[in-house]
Amino acid sequence: MWRPLFVLAGLMVPMVAQAQGDPIRPLTIITQPQAADPREYQAAQIVAEAWRKLGLTVNLRPLPGQQFTQVVWYERKRWDVTTWQMVGRPERGDPDELTYNLFVSANADNGYDFVGYINPAYDALAQAQRQELDLAKRKALVLEAQEMINQDQPYGFMVHPKNVVAFNKSVWDPKSFVAQAGIGIRSTWSWLNVAPLGAQKDVILNSVAPPTNLNPFNIPGAQGSWATEMVWDRLMRVGPDGLPTPWAAEKVERPDPLTVTVTLRKGMTWSDGKPVTIEDAVFSLEAPGYGDKSPMYKPFVRNISSVTATGPDTLTIKLKNPDAAFLISSLAKLNLAPKHIWAPIFEDLKTKPQTAESIQEDKPVGSGPFRLVKAALNQEIVLEANPTHWSKPKVSRWIMRIMPNVEAALGALKSGEINFLADYTGDPQILRDLAKANPNIVVSEALDIGFRFLAYNERRPPFDSKPFRQALSAMIDRQLLAEDAWGGAAEPSNSWVSPALEAWASKDIVKRVPASLDLVAAQKLLKDAGFVLVGGKLHYPTGVKETTAPFN
């Protein structure tokens, strides 16, 4: 009677020994160095500590800027996990750009799906929301896409940071700033509307990093874009509410999914005195598609099949495929450039290796509310209000000082040398304290469209296992990250759609992280997937060998 049991017990010994695969190799989180980004580094430390509770060996590996990007972007089979961020830009007020580009499998080889997330069901959803022109239906699709990513957890979302800026209320009327959804008061709308209270009529703001050259076919980094957005008009702009608003266009209509008709505003002039014509508008929509002379803007015209002037002020755009976000992603992104200046330049570039991005005009010609009068790239950018613009700013100049030393910028705000602190990367508490001690300084915090996350490399086991990724994501204490690492200037995140975009955000998705902050539930996820904890170390499921080399 007992014998069979003994036999069974005897069988069980080898079975237990076999009930586990190899131990999981030490995993490495790539981060920016502490000096370059103390918040991100601290966040990675907090997360690594939490993951160790699952029986993993987790190391941090700070890499300097260029090397960091090189490894993540071009050596896609080499790394395990990396910190990364998507920054907020007005055009991202429509979720299409990120919904599509971050996760569709077509981008896995060399595009922005650098984690290698492949899910045909998701591809179909991303495509469907892109082509759905009915807002309510499209919203439902975007919510569904977010839920799918919540289940699959290709990223461990961390936080949506807040933009922390400050201004001097003895110089500017606080009520005249315009907050833009997902950007805050450091918006183009503010620069167009802000009203001076006294003799100081120049907006003087800081930037930590120098921009690149400023021209209508170049995207000159985050800070440079603040300037180019105002020197060159666009047919539409992203409004304070995050929705596309006609700007240089008087009217934009979509009679059918593949057609967009534009009526140009009358009476606009270039800064060299020539009128803005419908040919200029047609040219501006076509030029980025000429050959490969405008690599950075070309993606935004790729879906355009033709642009035709249909009258002195009207044009018609035909699209190749329906594109719900076209108004924001293209019409609010492409700058209006004068044909009489840029057509000869594009002609000349045909025989040269250079691209249109590399051109620096001596006196840039635009039609925007401001004119570029000085671009000393390591010192300052000076814009002057365009007195003939139909939306004339109330300030006389807009001056961006390049100040690599953030503490000096704080001092400059205090002393009045700058009157708007636009680019602040330091501890938000220091700024709040400064405002408390100086009644003239007002701090403004606004939730950003962007987000910070940990990217799991799905090309490398065990990150190809969904329950494994879920368990990792479950252990991320997003509230702690927001409060500790980001000093309260951030909100927990579990989606690429920021709560700042109320229309598109999935309410309470942070609370729906599978097994969130529940160690037992996370361990169960792993156990159910066959992972085994032996002596405190997590092992692969039965029969799985560790064949991946640790990152070094």
Partner: protein, 326 residues
């Protein structure tokens, strides 16, 4: 003398060629490439290829090298990848700022260092020395950024006497070199960075001067001067100090060369638009042409100042001769 100069120029060209080659290879072997600055969700291989082609980085390495050397031989440093302006324009814009900052600070530091050093040697063992030497050492050893922040905190944030950064007031114009030198605004902005750099630099000439003075003061000709009944001032300044100056002069010339590229920290703290910041920005962004140009320029100044130091030595001290004596 002509032969000597020819030899020196030969050395200079050789050194610059080595520097140019090394920086050329170094940046291309470093991880990362300039297209990484342009990553965006719409970025793909097509975008990258177009950018690489526009930078000329799609060609084989040897071809890039030949083109680069050929351009360099004609004095063409190429065009910055990121700022899309000729490297020579960007460097010539920044060089005068760095040169003014460096020269002003070095002259101040050496003037103070020499006088105080000589004085301290003369007052060896006194209470003054007991205080002055640790103070000089402390400012010399303090990190530049800390010293800079301290100066900023006191004179800019607290007292508000000086601006917190930059070389001109917001919206002001910064003209050519002579215009800058004639602008009160420019000098006002120069004060804090120059004071910081002076504080940082004064330790070396001070201690050097003191050490050589102590040596010289023990020499027989000083005893002789004393026996002649010359005044103290005459002994220290006319007899001793002149003989003690030699190593200090060498250090000055070398310091001038080294500082051209070495003010990165101060230029960053005070947002001073000089070569150091150009160099750091260029290296961080893999802007090869700009970084190469900056390195070559720094190497050029360094080598020239070395030569000047050699020649000055020979001129000041008859015991040293330059080249073969006939």
């Amino acid at each position: 003398m002509l032969r000597v100069i020819a030899e020196r120029v030969g050395h200079l060209v050789l050194v610059l060629w080595v520097v140019a080659t090394l920086t050329f290879l170094m940046f291309r072997l470093m991880p990362g490439d300039p297209t990484l600055n342009f990553l965006s969700p719409s970025f793909n291989d097509e975008t990258r290829a177009a950018l690489m082609r526009s930078f000329g980085l799609d060609r084989p390495l040897w071809e890039q090298y030949v083109i680069y050397m050929w351009q360099l031989a004609r004095g063409d440093f190429g065009v910055s990848f990121l700022q899309n302006q000729p490297v020579s324009v960007l460097l010539w814009d920044a060089l005068p700022n760095t040169a003014v900052l460096t020269v002003v600070s070095l002259v101040l530091a050496y003037a103070i260092g020499i006088v105080v050093g000589a004085f301290l040697a003369f007052r060896r063992g006194s209470a003054v020395e007991g205080v002055a030497i640790p103070v000089a050492l402390a400012t010399r050893a303090a990190p530049e950024f800390w010293l800079g922040m301290l100066v900023l905190a006191v004179f800019a944030f607290h007292l508000g006497w000086f601006p917190t950064g930059g070389a001109v007031s917001p919206g002001g114009t910064m003209g050519g070199v002579w215009e800058r030198l004639g602008s009160a605004d420019f000098w006002w902005h120069l004060c804090l960075p120059a004071v910081t750099l002076t504080l940082f630099l004064q330790g070396l000439p001070l201690l050097l001067m003191r050490a050589t003075m102590l040596e010289v003061l023990n020499d027989e000709f000083i005893t002789m001067a004393r026996m002649k009944g010359l005044s103290r001032w005459s002994i220290v300044m006319r007899h001793a100090a002149r003989n003690a100056l030699l190593p200090v002069v060498t250090a000055f010339a070398l310091g001038l060369g080294a500082s051209i590229g070495g003010n990165v920290v101060i230029e960053t703290v005070f947002a001073w638009p000089g070569i150091g910041r150009v160099l750091v920005g260029a290296v961080q962004a893999s802007d090869y042409p700009l970084a190469q140009g900056a390195f070559i320029m720094i190497a050029f100044v360094l080598v020239v100042m070395n030569t000047v130091a050699d020649l000055a030595y020979a001129w000041l001290d008859p015991r040293v001769s330059v080249g073969a004596r006939r």
